[in-house]
């Protein structure tokens, strides 16, 4: 259809704009509160600047390493066909919904002093791999982000029109020429976006640094907020740190949005219809096999170890653990409902706004990516304190924070389908006077069943595994499952910890699987 001054469908826009206003209020509200509190209360110290530097440095290193290491793996996956390839590509999405604390536990079980590798090295008389500090943070961030990087780059390969490779083959170009003429330009266009996405994710990473980091040389802003809160009880100091973290997060996200549209973590869409020419030299084949095998091992070993260690202890879990599990489940479902419904309304508004305002609204929604749960927690604490005991509201605040964090991802999943829905059926709906709730019930929900279920499952799994806000307020009587797991790790009750982690992993993947299945059930035309 020709673009022009199109009559705007207001009914589709205002609820979404209300959601966006709420998101912005939740993102920027803490800043106002925190700034009002912070005024002089807690001066920024040299240690705080060190935390700023560490936050930036670890995020930059994580992004750089993930991106660089992802290239050979993605190239190997793009140009080789083997049994299990599709399963491996699907599994690349798993770390995104794996609870971070479970991933960390698994990595400790592999690389830790008492872990398999550690014990093997000790037996050989070698020193153990240093897993705490910056190295540990980087290994964990690699584990969590390398698969995403591989997937994004693989999509870059898949986006190269097959005709290019056909032409290259027809001209008899060697793999080296193909790389120079076709693949490198694609990488130049793709890699900055990949690196930037990972940088943003790592900038607000908390759980990994809480467990792997610490000490003067590996404390991030998030961890510093946590320490000011929990160890020093210095609310003013926590507030100034939160202001710093929020400024950093928003600045980086804002800058990022100018450069890239955040990558969709959507369902793995059609991969290469025509593979790039496979380098037939045996050296290249070995290198590709090695790259794929190393990635598969790096992903499977920690998760497998944690799961194995945990399954044995599952039956012995106490009632306290099961109660925490139920609590987490309720929060996850509610947060998922909030995030998905909010993303649906916001996405609909974005799809119906004129192109330029739509992009602006989209960018505003994406700012939520730059918000650390610790900042939301601090803001909520400050907001609630004058009226009530914040600790008693820990769970509602956690719910809200989880919904807010899942929101941008849910929006990214739904946005393309909402745009397509509008392009395909917007005029038909309008011409029939199909608006508001009738359109939602008769058109939007049934047509968007799959992406809605995917977004809901992803949000539920993210919320299930989140260890953020809750750590600030923690009160054993209302711990979530990840909080309880963290407690047990701190108490070195590792058997219980593994048991809880198996339960947590099961619930996260189970929620995601159940939602995704609902979306696929009797889908028609």
């Amino acid at each position: 259809m020709a673009r022009g001054p199109v009559a705007i469908d207001r009914g589709a826009i205002w609820p979404g704009l209300a959601v966006l206003a709420l998101v912005l209020a939740l993102v920027l509200g803490p800043l106002a509160l925190v700034l009002a509190q912070a005024g002089g209360a807690g001066a920024i110290t040299a240690a705080d600047w060190a935390a700023v530097r560490f936050t930036l440095w670890q995020a930059a290193l994580s992004a750089g390493l993930s991106t660089v290491l992802a290239v050979p793996v993605a190239r190997a996956l793009a140009r080789r066909r083997f049994a299990g390839r599709a399963a491996l590509v699907t599994a690349l999405g798993a770390p995104f919904i794996l609870p971070v604390i479970v991933a960390v536990l698994g990595l400790l079980a592999l690389f830790g002093r008492a872990g398999i590798l550690g014990r093997a090295l000790t037996a050989l008389g070698l020193p153990p791999v240093p897993i705490y500090g910056l190295q540990g943070v980087l290994v964990a961030h690699l584990f969590l982000n390398l698969p995403l990087a591989v997937r994004m780059i693989l999509n870059g390969w898949a986006a190269i029109p097959p005709e290019r490779f056909r032409l290259a083959a027809a001209l008899g170009l060697a793999p080296r020429d193909v790389a120079r003429l076709i693949e490198r330009p694609m990488l130049r266009a793709t890699l900055p976006g990949v690196a930037l996405s990972i940088f943003l994710v790592c900038l607000t990473s908390f759980t990994v640094i809480l467990i792997m980091g610490g000490g003067p040389r590996a404390t991030s802003l998030g961890l510093a907020i946590y320490q000011a809160f929990r160890l020093e009880f210095a609310l003013g100091h926590a507030a100034s740190l939160a202001a710093l973290q929020l400024a950093l997060g928003l600045a980086a996200t804002g800058a990022g949005l100018m450069v890239l549209r955040p990558a969709a973590f959507g369902a793995g869409r059609g991969l290469a219809s025509l593979a790039p020419p496979a380098d037939p030299k045996w050296l290249a084949r070995i290198a590709d096999a090695l790259a794929i095998a190393l990635l598969a091992l790096f992903l499977a070993l920690p998760v497998g170890l944690a799961a194995l260690a945990g399954l044995a202890h599952l039956p012995g879990l106490e009632a306290e653990v099961l109660r925490a599990g139920a609590r987490s489940m309720v929060i996850a479902l509610a947060a998922s409902a909030l995030a998905t419904a909010g993303a649906l309304l916001a996405g609909q508004a974005i799809a119906h706004l004129p192109a330029r305002s739509g992009r602006l609204a989209d960018a505003a929604a994406m700012l939520a990516l730059g918000v650390s749960p610790l900042v939301i927690g601090t803001g909520a604490f400050l907001a609630i304190r004058p009226f009530a005991d914040p600790v008693r509201l820990a769970l509602p605040v956690t719910l809200l924070a989880n919904a807010l964090m899942a929101f941008p991802f849910a929006l990214r999943i739904l946005a393309p389908d909402l745009a397509a829905l509008r392009a395909d059926y917007g005029r038909l709906s309008q011409s029939l006077g199909l608006t508001g709730r009738a359109r939602l019930r008769l058109v939007t929900l049934p047509r968007l069943r799959r992406p809605l279920a995917f977004a809901a499952g992803l949000s539920a799994a993210l919320s299930m595994g989140d260890l953020g806000v809750i750590t600030l307020f923690s009160d054993p009587a209302q711990a979530t499952l990840p909080a309880l797991l963290y407690q047990r790790m701190g108490q070195y009750r590792m058997d219980e910890a593994y048991g809880i982690s198996a339960l947590l992993m099961g619930l996260s993947f189970g929620l995601f699987w159940a939602f995704d299945r609902m979306g696929r059930k009797d889908a028609d035309a």
Partner: protein, 231 residues
């Protein structure tokens, strides 16, 4: 009577002017080279595109304040006229009540419309299981149920073979004659116009000309139409 009064449509690198009137009950074809703005003109009348100047009115009433669904018209698009996840009966029901809360009387009317368009018994099917011609009939049946005095056809039958298309056009003519509906029909094919449209609006060179008798226009085409027709 449909009146386009000093109408100006402007889009990126595109401008169309129209000042004309279509008498009530007429079937009128819109002919002209592609890109001339035939579909855009229908979009303006239907309310999807706002004109830069001028007004569209039906029986003297300005349509500008009405959203597309409230205008006294039905429109059939080139494609996507049906919701694939709803049954044929539900798709028709949307023409009666957009929220699909249908009464038994509504269902009776749906069955009637299905029978009138030769689709009796197909109500419970999904559109995807119907042929292209049947899908066109469903869209027409819905327009029949909506009982709007104006019907806009934006080449809804262009994907059909010549035989089926002729059949659909005859159905349109029959329904229009029964209900007194005024029809505006975009077409690429002068044979369509000759078949059912006594009047033709020529859309070319940035202007939509007032309706003229189709046969005379096609027999003695002005130069721009002659070039388009290849005469």
């Amino acid at each position: 009577m449909l009146t386009l009064d000093g109408l100006v449509v402007e889009q990126e690198g595109f401008r169309l002017e129209a000042g004309l009137a279509v008498p009530e009950g007429a079937i009128c074809a819109l002919l002209g080279p592609s890109g001339a703005g035939k579909s855009t003109l229908l979009s303006v009348i239907a309310g999807f595109v706002a004109p830069a100047a001028g007004r569209v009115s039906w029986q003297g009433r300005d349509l500008a304040p009405l959203p597309p669904g409230r205008r006294p018209l039905s429109i059939l698009f080139q494609d996507q006229n049906l919701f694939p996840h709803l049954t044929v009966a539900q798709n028709l029901g949307l023409g009666l009540r957009p929220d699909l809360r249908l009464s038994p009387a509504d269902h009776a009317r749906i069955d009637e419309a299905l029978a009138r368009t030769g689709l009796a018994g197909l109500g419970p099917r999904k559109p995807g299981t119907l042929s292209g011609g049947q899908q066109g009939r469903v869209a027409l049946a819905r327009a029949l149920l909506r009982r709007r005095p104006l019907l806009l056809l934006d080449e809804p039958f262009s994907a059909l073979g010549p035989g089926l298309k002729a059949e659909m056009l005859d159905l349109v003519r029959g329904i229009a004659a029964e209900t007194g509906t005024t029809v505006l029909m975009v077409s690429h094919d002068p044979a369509d116009a000759r078949r059912i449209a006594p009047l033709t609006i020529l859309v070319a060179e940035g202007r939509a000309l007032p309706p003229a008798p189709t046969a005379a226009l096609l027999d003695h085409p002005p130069p721009v139409l002659a070039a388009y027709l290849g005469k």
